[in-house]
Symmetry: C2
Subunit: 482 residues, 2 copies
């Protein structure tokens, strides 16, 4: 007898009762992640890591298709190197973990565990680059980074996380800007098409940009609780680092020049977004493109003749095209339904004696609970189509939810009222003055998430700044954020 | 005019003049790797990293096919945790890099950057494991590790390297032993079939085994200079760690038990082996299964009408099945020949006006210099077959080289003479006494690389120990080693 026979899956705290507890329940009960012995660090368990592998595969293919190659740079950065770009060190130094002893000896110089790799990569680029003929440099690395954080939550903010960081060099400012936009576009494309998370994109304000960047661009997602999640950033670094690290090359006119520089990254944080955008009170809801298991087959009355064989046949038919599991454990069907539902598997297939008599099975959709009888004849085609339908539906649902949680405000009173009534994005005109940005943050808790690009700009009301009332050139998205 | 037009590729030091310099020349001129700012650390450049990605892909597929899943454990291990298994800490403590400051504060406890992850993984396993129903635990991680080394050489021994480490738990000692052997088998299979490196496998002596293991098994390769390279190890850890970390479960009889434990790893060191086994005085020689570029197309008299178009057509035909590059730079064909030869590309295809007239091209083999005219009609098939021929030939050549460098010795004089005349493996009977092992090492510089399994055991001479002359149960492989 199965040890879980008859047991119910332990309940998950409802989302709208306590969203933070819901999140913690989901990530632990689904065994995606666990807390490490060192505070603020996480262990990514197989179910979480398989999602990360899928995310990696999708992005890595697009990086390579756009001419980027992978490299690996060292984990440890000498302190003097981290200090070369003034804004950069100011931004990152407070979060650094320092190695001070190695091989039984105290080191002469502290070594930073990379919080990001601009400095060490630039030190190598300055050695490698000689001529314009070598440009562009289009490189990326997949790596772990450490940033000592005070308040942490698995995937969303941890002292160590996994990410990729692209680092490119270009002849002209225009090419660097194009690259910065290209990578933001790739980030958004995979996030929307595969993670089914609609993104708002735009430029970061001066106070929110990357330490050392000329400009930072971001994609921002809205979570179920109305808080925003910065989900990927692409930085135009101008010549800040190339000058600090004396990276020069001979240009087409045989003159020494500093190249233009970009960097861009997405991280395991995306997994947190995936959970908080799609999940519901029964647990995870995973988009088919990213789910480690797309189809779970559950035999009904498995002891009846032919059922288990038919379930195994079905698995064989499907597993060439899809990621399939057959749950032939001795737990009860009801327990299995809950279990695979909690794990967010897009389609559950139920197959029992009566189904077999009718040459059919039942497909249960995780995204909307619908149960669909389907002939076994073209089950591969039916499942394939349904997975795409679910993928699209999850995106549409998430977009609708975001739109419902997005409001506009013309003055501070409206701003506060909108956030109180309907937490989410507030679109408001902003004059660009950091004093207004600070005041908005102090009074509402919302930060400037991004200033949309011109093609997505709108004028709210009469075009005056939501805070100071002066003329505002731009509208921005504000929200409380993770 | 191309900046390299007319230039010759700078010469590589011949292997037999100075093997160490040859190695350094090859890895730097082919841009596989560079030296990092912190001594002993390396930067893996795209050409080196692409090989690592290929190695990862091959092993990862086999790990998954044998039921293993990937996870990710934290980089930092608290000092008290590293100390729980006595032999383990003794073995690794001298090589540890310690984090003592984080987030602007001195830490209460030093944190080790993982030199290997047995301890932190066991601390989590003890939390996760409850019942025999959960066993086996079959997990792996791909990660970076740090071991502070005094003498380093890129890929071969570096203070940081990339690897995978498998960590499994089992109900019985037999299952753990089977797993240990299964993974050694997988290591060997990929190494021999894909890296084309023949391996000697067997058990490590007590003094050479992993710190904390019950038994360590190894695959050992022989480099061109006659030195051995430990290329992958699989450890049966018994219950050493499961007891130290109090990992218990309820067995089939409802009794508390300690599970049996294995760990196994291969690393970026394999790239060093690949270079030193196959490379020659012209540079790298890469086995087709692992080469980032399998075919380099060089147009001859590229300015003549039709040549460049035909080269591009050829590239299009081949690139669906193979990893192909077309070198249409304005360097001279001779320079290109040298360049791609140095990079170890298995097949160079030359295509000039006269070839086109005859509907043919010329295939130049990197492994033996042979030039083969081939019809363009079934060029895909011809190239595919030739790549497999080259793959096999590289293995055969390497095996022959190893056999020529393997000798036997019945006493210490013979041992020294063999090593002096023909550096390589010396097979000799060994009584198993560590004193003899030490003496052999002191007098010859050769260490015990492994004790072959019974099916590959031989008796040398009269079966007496090469050192003390007493009866020896086993024969072992000795060599100087990296």
């Amino acid at each position: 007898m199965g040890k879980n026979k008859g047991k119910k899956v332990e309940a998950i705290t409802p989302r709208d009762v306590d969203f933070a507890r819901w999140y913690t329940d989901v990530i632990s009960k689904t065994e995606m992640v666990d807390y490490a012995p060192v505070k603020g660090f996480m262990v990514i368990r197989p179910y979480g890591y398989a999602i990360w592998e899928n995310i990696q595969k999708l992005y890595d293919a697009k990086f390579k298709a756009t001419g980027h190659q992978n490299m690996y740079f060292p984990l440890l950065i000498p302190e003097n190197m981290l200090q070369k770009e003034a804004e950069h060190v100011e931004g990152f130094a407070p979060e650094v973990a320092w190695v001070t002893e190695g091989g039984g000896k105290k080191l002469n110089e502290r070594l930073a565990i990379r919080p990001t790799s601009e400095t060490i990569i630039c030190s190598m680029y300055s050695k490698w680059l000689n001529s314009y003929r070598q440009l562009p440099f289009l490189y990326n690395q997949w790596a772990n980074v450490v940033r000592w954080e005070k308040t942490t939550r698995p995937f969303l903010r941890t002292s160590e996380f996994l990410w990729q960081e692209g680092h490119t060099l270009h002849e002209t400012a225009e090419e660097a800007q194009e690259e910065t936009m290209r990578m933001l576009g790739i980030y958004r494309e995979v996030a929307e098409k595969d993670l089914a998370i609609p993104m708002v994109v735009g430029r970061k304000s001066e106070s929110e940009k990357f330490a050392g960047a000329a400009a930072t661009y971001t994609m921002e997602a809205l979570m179920h609780d109305g808080q925003a999640l910065q989900s990927g950033t692409s930085h135009n670094l101008g010549q800040h680092f190339t000058k600090a690290f004396d990276i020069t090359y001979l240009d087409r006119n045989n003159e020494q020049q500093y190249p233009y520089h970009t960097s861009w990254g997405v991280s395991t944080r995306l997994i947190g977004g995936l959970i908080m955008v799609h999940g519901d009170d029964n647990g995870l809801v995973l988009p088919p493109h990213i789910a480690p298991i797309q189809v779970a087959i559950i035999p009904i009355a498995a002891h009846k003749p032919g059922v288990l064989d038919a379930a195994q046949d079905l698995k064989k038919r499907l597993e060439g095209r899809f990621k399939v599991t057959l749950d032939d454990s001795d737990n009860s069907p009801g327990w299995k339904f809950n279990q695979w539902e909690m794990k967010g598997v897009p389609i559950r297939i139920e197959l029992g004696p009566r189904d077999l008599e009718n040459n059919q099975c039942v497909l249960a959709r995780r995204d909307n609970g619908e149960k669909i009888p389907a002939s076994l004849d073209d089950i591969e085609g039916t499942v394939g189509d349904l997975l795409e339908t679910i993928q699209q539906n999850l995106y549409d649902k998430a977009l609708k939810a975001r739109e419902e949680k997005t409001s506009t405000a013309e003055n501070m009173d409206e701003f506060k009222q909108r956030l109180a009534e309907n937490p989410g994005f507030v679109k408001a005109n902003w004059c660009g003055d950091p004093a207004c940005e600070d005041k908005i943050h102090e009074e509402t808790g919302a930060s400037c998430r991004c200033i949309p690009f011109d093609d997505e700009q709108e004028v709210i009301g009469d075009g005056s700044c939501v805070c100071c009332g002066k003329h505002a050139d731009k509208m921005a998205y504000f929200a409380r954020a993770y």
